[in-house]
Symmetry: C3
Subunit: 269 residues, 3 copies
Amino acid sequence: MKAMRDPIVTLLTDFGTKDHYVASMKGVILRINPQCTLIDITHEVSPQNIQEGAFLLAGACPYFPKGTIHLSVVDPGVGSQRKPILLVTKNYFFIGPDNGLFTLAARKDGIKRIIVLTHKKYFLPEVSATFHGRDIFAPVAGYLSLGTNPQTFGERTDHWMELGLGQPELKGDQLIGEVIHIDAFGNLVSNIDKKGFSRFIKDRPFLTRAGKRTIKGLKRGYWEGKRNEPTALFGSSGFLEIAVREGNAQKILKVKRGDQIIVSVIGDQ
Amino acid sequence: MKAMRDPIVTLLTDFGTKDHYVASMKGVILRINPQCTLIDITHEVSPQNIQEGAFLLAGACPYFPKGTIHLSVVDPGVGSQRKPILLVTKNYFFIGPDNGLFTLAARKDGIKRIIVLTHKKYFLPEVSATFHGRDIFAPVAGYLSLGTNPQTFGERTDHWMELGLGQPELKGDQLIGEVIHIDAFGNLVSNIDKKGFSRFIKDRPFLTRAGKRTIKGLKRGYWEGKRNEPTALFGSSGFLEIAVREGNAQKILKVKRGDQIIVSVIGDQ
Amino acid sequence: MKAMRDPIVTLLTDFGTKDHYVASMKGVILRINPQCTLIDITHEVSPQNIQEGAFLLAGACPYFPKGTIHLSVVDPGVGSQRKPILLVTKNYFFIGPDNGLFTLAARKDGIKRIIVLTHKKYFLPEVSATFHGRDIFAPVAGYLSLGTNPQTFGERTDHWMELGLGQPELKGDQLIGEVIHIDAFGNLVSNIDKKGFSRFIKDRPFLTRAGKRTIKGLKRGYWEGKRNEPTALFGSSGFLEIAVREGNAQKILKVKRGDQIIVSVIGDQ
């Protein structure tokens, strides 16, 4: 696969937008290919939180055109032995540190080739030990967007790092998931997806427990809930979500990332 | 009117920039039209605050080129009965929920046509109940930017929802307005515009009251005020503003959105 | 020098991203030149902090392609006597208030011409006293990006305002610098650059003092430090930085902008 005629490079980092770091990366890309369209996914991944980065990347990634280059940097091990990689999947390219950040997005799209970035002629002339986003990943994204063959950038390998991202657990009449993301509205996104949920529930009545609150049934959308009352629904990412209509579920339920979300079938005695 | 040759789509939401929501919308648009230029107005509208969204959209909108498509989503009623609409005005297109968000911007520019978005072939194949920004509004903006005729997207109507945005009130020797926006510098923007103000004041001396402070006269710019002293002036949006030179008027005056700003003519006994 | 064929305009301000101010500037530029690529450096410079703006601009600027137009507005004196300027340097154009904001970036690149913006036909028809970013600097950037000759915009001058940005001080066995920037990770960036540091240290052993902590030697990257222990290293901007691996140095050391960072040679008795 070649990069598209109107190449798009997305950027996802934990750098924030207060500093000059993200702009430096964009400058490097545009110096190599001024025709690139640069789209921010987010730069507010919680510092060094690879899991959160993986979730957000997987959430946005499938909506982009075939051939899009996804450049992602959440990189607590920058400068250490972790490898810089380029993943070629069915529809996309992923460039960044090999630390599990691409687990969800690349697995979902289907991996075709894995390349360790070793050819220094595609890096900036001076590579710092602290900012591979600018010195390695950005220039590789720039050259890739010009149509450079992925294999040019390094050696092929069969290995990449995948995170063991928590799957919900089945325990008798309970499906035990956890909060994997809390969005800006305070909605609690769990790791329970629609398919797994349906297979478990099969039309039986159930309750969902989040924090100290128990919620009956499912709503179709936020508007069906009552004000200040928690509601369970399947959100736009396809996961079971706890929300409060025109309110903030995180604040009302005092739940944090990693806390359990438990779906229990109600006995029909 | 057709979309311009180099189509621009602006985005305004209350989604924040921490999540993948905005990027998903951009991906959807670029998949339909990779030539689009995407410009963020803001994604930090206070959650579900339609009035604030309406003010910010009207503030930025007139500076964009003719033919710009403004895609705006502040949508507490997503998935309910509120209609998805496309407004065609003299210079622009507005796409989003029909909940009053376009009141100021579209009214100012002059409405020419109102279309309810009903033709599902221009939506994403699967429309969620919680994220019409991605599933309905973004793809319609994408197709519109390709030059698709506005009428193609649905049925024409004569009705749209307009907010009764508070106008200042005239009470004897007082013009009573309110704070409709507080910007990032802490400047207090009122709903008293230059024209209404001049018609009321006509060269008479006056005082402006904000919080517990009384301010004499008008300054032409921030630099004319004294440090730590509140100043009244007409800001860049054309409204009466209370500011503090190199300081934060909101913090110093302890005023919040909706609080009164009162202009009183001083008796010349 | 002419603007490049695919003109890039960067924007750096202290306007934040909550308001419509930045978008208004972008609209003005795109109305003049819809082909422009607009790249945000940052809009989160601390309000009216010219020094911080100067540091961030200089950090990102050299990574952009030759011909890039850098539009920067941190402007506490807007509307007063401070001049609006256009600086032409070896590789770039800088547009904004003449208040020292360009000190680091323009000096580093090498100044070729300084023009005071006086020709009102390149401004918006109505220039407010409070928002020259939109009314003067944005339209000039737009016309410049079309290839307009820099001299067209006003009168040439030999003077521009440069900040006396604090250089580290040499006192016997000590090099006394200060914190000039704290990034989003809490890393403390000093004004001690690699060259000055090496000339002073010459292979002698040394300690670095920040807040109440003393740090031995230098690390090459964040990953070499211990968790929760402060580390000294040269960061990606080429300055001595105090960092904490997977932690926040600012919070742990309770250091703020302007605080001293002292490098002391250790006697080899």
